[in-house]
Amino acid sequence: MLKYVAKRLLMAVFILWAVATIAFALTFLSGDPATLMIGDHWTSEQIASFREAMGYDRPLLVQYGDFLAGLPQGDFGVSVRQQIPVMDLILQRFPATLELTAAALFLIVFISIPIGVLSAVKRNSLADRVAMSGALFAQSVPTFWLGIMLILVFGVWLRWLPVSGRGTFLHLLLPAITLATFSTARIARLVRSSMLDVLGQDYIRTARAKGLPNWRIYYVHALRNALIPVITLLGLEIGGLLGGALITETVFAWPGIGRLTLQAIQARDLPLVQGVITFGALVFVLVNLVVDLSYSFIDPRIRHE
């Protein structure tokens, strides 16, 4: 087990290095960083001295070396526009993203799993059809459109909920619902198909033969085995969500990592762009490691060697 974790961590380091390198390369491919960051009426002298002050006049390899050397300490340099260390900016936004992710995850888990199980158990019933058509709809609706519709209905027409911003529990509702919708649908469908597989297995028949109550068969015996692919997908979703929900955060003016990413790109703030990309990758890799390790708790037959 320990050996497995060590191996995975080593791999994570390699992945992070690769992502950071790509982030570094991409930002330089998008044009000369100095001309990107300056204003409309700067003189050539101003551009040249800016380039020198930012260190963009040094050989690319030297800049890359400096960039890599800072990585282990989480040092991505200082944001050009905001003049604050990149890592500080990321950590300031992370609680907002964490809050939104946690709320969305709560909705995803507590809505998708019961619906998925119900659909599988009552296969081809009206409830199943309604649930699965709903899921298809929820999966196809663009997040952007859904967010604006929720604002219109609950914010502007009914005036039940605040339109945007972060602050109270009520502010959290609309963005969490928007963010959760797609994943809830996706996972409900996966739970359903995974349950259907499991329900056809011999041990379920045995459980029935033993006279176990239905809820126990479905929720204890079947669901536990059906959950492995669900957890995998959930892990990917959480990893993605923690990297920042760009569209949802933008629509609801939610001050999280996604907005920071967008802002970094729009302001051509190269150190910040590199920082958020690498940070997103780190979170993704770690979450997936945790997910992989959790398999053996859910299904003791799985052993990491």
Binding site: H41, F50, R51, Q82, Q83, I84, S164, V251
Partner: protein, 506 residues
Amino acid sequence: MRNLFRALTFSLALMIGGCSSQGDLTVANSTDISTMDPFGMFSRVEVAFGDHLFQSLTFFNKDMEVEPLLATSWERLEGDTTWTFQLREGVRFHNGAIFNAETVKFSIESYYERNAAGRTVGGASVAIPSADITRVDILDSLRVNISTSSPKALLPFYLSQMWMIDPGFYTDASDADRAENPVGTGPYTVSERIRDSHVALAANPDYWGSAPKAARVIWRVIPEVSTRIAELETGGVHLVTDLPFDQAALLDDTPGVHVARISGGRRVMIGITTSGGPEPLKDKRVRQALNYAIDFDAISEGLFSGQVDRMSYMFNPPYNHPTLEAYNYDPAKARKLLEEAGYPNGFELSSLDTPLGKWIQDFELAQTIESQLADVGVTLEKGVRTYEWGNYRGKLLSYDLPGLFMQGSGGEFELLTEAADLTITSPSNFYRWENDEYEELWDELQAALDPDRRQEIGYRMQEIVHEEAPWIFLHIQPDVYGVSDQIDWQPRPDEIIHLWDVSLTL
């Protein structure tokens, strides 16, 4: 059950506690205030925000005129390169420090030191090289002499762009301190800041002037325009910026809010490489022909719902030429001019280049122009080519877009900086256009003191540019705001929003 009850009361407490107070005047922008460092605030939104915290010796008012602020009067001395400024008495910084001649010397010198070190000087990035201040001498605690390298008629204007900062705080402040803790003399201080969410300003109790009308002003950032509008409709915010035309039309019919439109300072045109590029474009008759080939009314109706103003001049008001007329749509004349220039059957250019999404409808605009030019025989081998803005800007600055290219020039509302863009030494002369008379006028303009003569020079420059046509004249991009009926606010043409004299009626 008890837990459920507890959760409910907790949410209720949050709901009540989290509401912003009723009297807050709130403005919503699409972008955040990225720093509160006086030398780092750069965009129009940031500069406008900064004006609530920091003040300059002079003030550029809503009529685009310079008036006294921290300096009460000034005069120009013999020799024309030195000015004496009388400073306002009894002004204190937010931290209690006294504003005096030392402050002025420190502030101006800091700007120049930073600029020389290649670091950003924010909203003063044009004023610093233009003013070229060489020394600041303290005469007494409330009088300074400011000297420039050569006579600068516009020194009082340039000084309106340089904020006065407290030496006691800014001498040793770290970058993070500068970004987070602004210390100015303005009517407001910062009471709360959540990055990417809002900055709350509270009236400065020790302000030297009359107290601002709203006790608290909130600058929110809401990137999505539909959300900004929803907040405006529900009373969450009172002023929203950057409204697209189609959305503004919808807001016109909404009760409780109105739309404020103003012709802004951003002019959009198709730049033409006049030397070093394709041969036909070197001939001014060809460049005029390209202008006559444009059916602007069709463009305006088709792409902008008729809501943009045609650009006939090149300098923003009050320096705009009053009688110059925009090129009219006259394809026959265009063909005739092309024939005179030796291109009876037109000619082919490589492409028309444009960034994507930098200016309103830029790509659609370029496509329309491509087809209108084709009507008079000027065709594009590769059609409209689009670039990401970063790449495009790099290519502009290195003259790597030979031919026709989309270009927008920002509003300065100040003759000298705008006129500079077309001098041959300016990096913003993307057209590589050179004209002897224009250069002579430019030399004269830099030193000219008499406002009438300056205006005259400005007019003549615009006549030359109109005749020489280094670009295809298009339009002036308007600024559109959504405004709550609860406030009495008028837009300025330079995108600057000042809220200290705006009151909120509940």
